[in-house]
Point group: C2
Chain length 120, copies 2
DNA sequence: AATATAACTATACAAAAGTATACCAATACT
DNA sequence: AGTATTGGTATACTTTTGTATAGTTATATT
């Protein structure tokens, strides 16, 4: 295959795919996104509980990340009119489906570790 | 389910899964990893060609990222004893399989965009 | 009136990631 | 000797991401 053909082939890589990958990366990149999403998946929904479960995250980061996830349509914030006020964070339908991406990442990561150990 | 049970359930989330996800994130996170891996997948292997294909990347970043990918066992660097010297970067077996992760990211990203457009 | 609790916010800072611009080394060609 | 080519490095920045530490608001409890 000629260099030109290859170049054209690359240019054909659909823009919507690039956008889709970037959207996904935005949602899962960073130190705390995965721990937060995983905790929500496991049924932890309140600020203090998330903070305790994740361990070393500061309230500033937890707040910031939850806001970003909410803005990205991955998390929904629910306010309950009790005293003291109770607030719960839940994954949206999209949010729950990130599990599929996590699964593919786990699969790749495990296989890769085995291969690296074999090779040296 | 009690809070305690939930907590224990979370603690059961296997450490090797956490490591696997982190390994994968390390390989795909950042502004340039995906463009580089995609270019390699599409058959572009030389430094200058990668630089041209990716567009706005500086040689410093391309060099740095390729080194990191090599260190992580995702890319292999081959030196050809020609004049002038020819160097090629190729994905390892592990590297090629990142396509599966990319696919799941594309799928999630596309679905998520549709859902966000629907909801508003 | 003092203390406790949930759910944060504010300010200042440090570290990591990325950019801009210029330069280098080896070899071959003219 | 001067120029071109490939495959990078070096230095100095700017931006983004994450940390540390303290404070706030609203209500209820003692």
């Amino acid at each position: 295959m000629s260099d030109l053909k290859e170049l054209l082939e690359v240019k054909k890589c659909p823009r919507q795919y690039v956008l889709a990958v970037n959207d996904t990366l935005n949602v899962i990149s960073g130190k705390w996104k995965m721990p937060i999403i995983a905790s929500l998946l496991y049924g932890i929904h309140r600020f203090k509980d998330l903070q305790e479960n994740i361990g070393k995250i500061t309230p500033r980061m937890l707040s910031k990340e939850l806001k970003e996830l909410e803005l990205n349509g991955v998390v929904e914030r629910k306010v309950f009119n009790t005293t003291p006020v109770r607030i719960e964070y839940h994954l949206t339908e999209s949010g729950k489906k990130i599990l599929a991406v996590m699964d593919s990442m786990i699969e790749w990561g495990l296989e890769h570790r085995e291969r690296v150990v074999e090779v040296g």
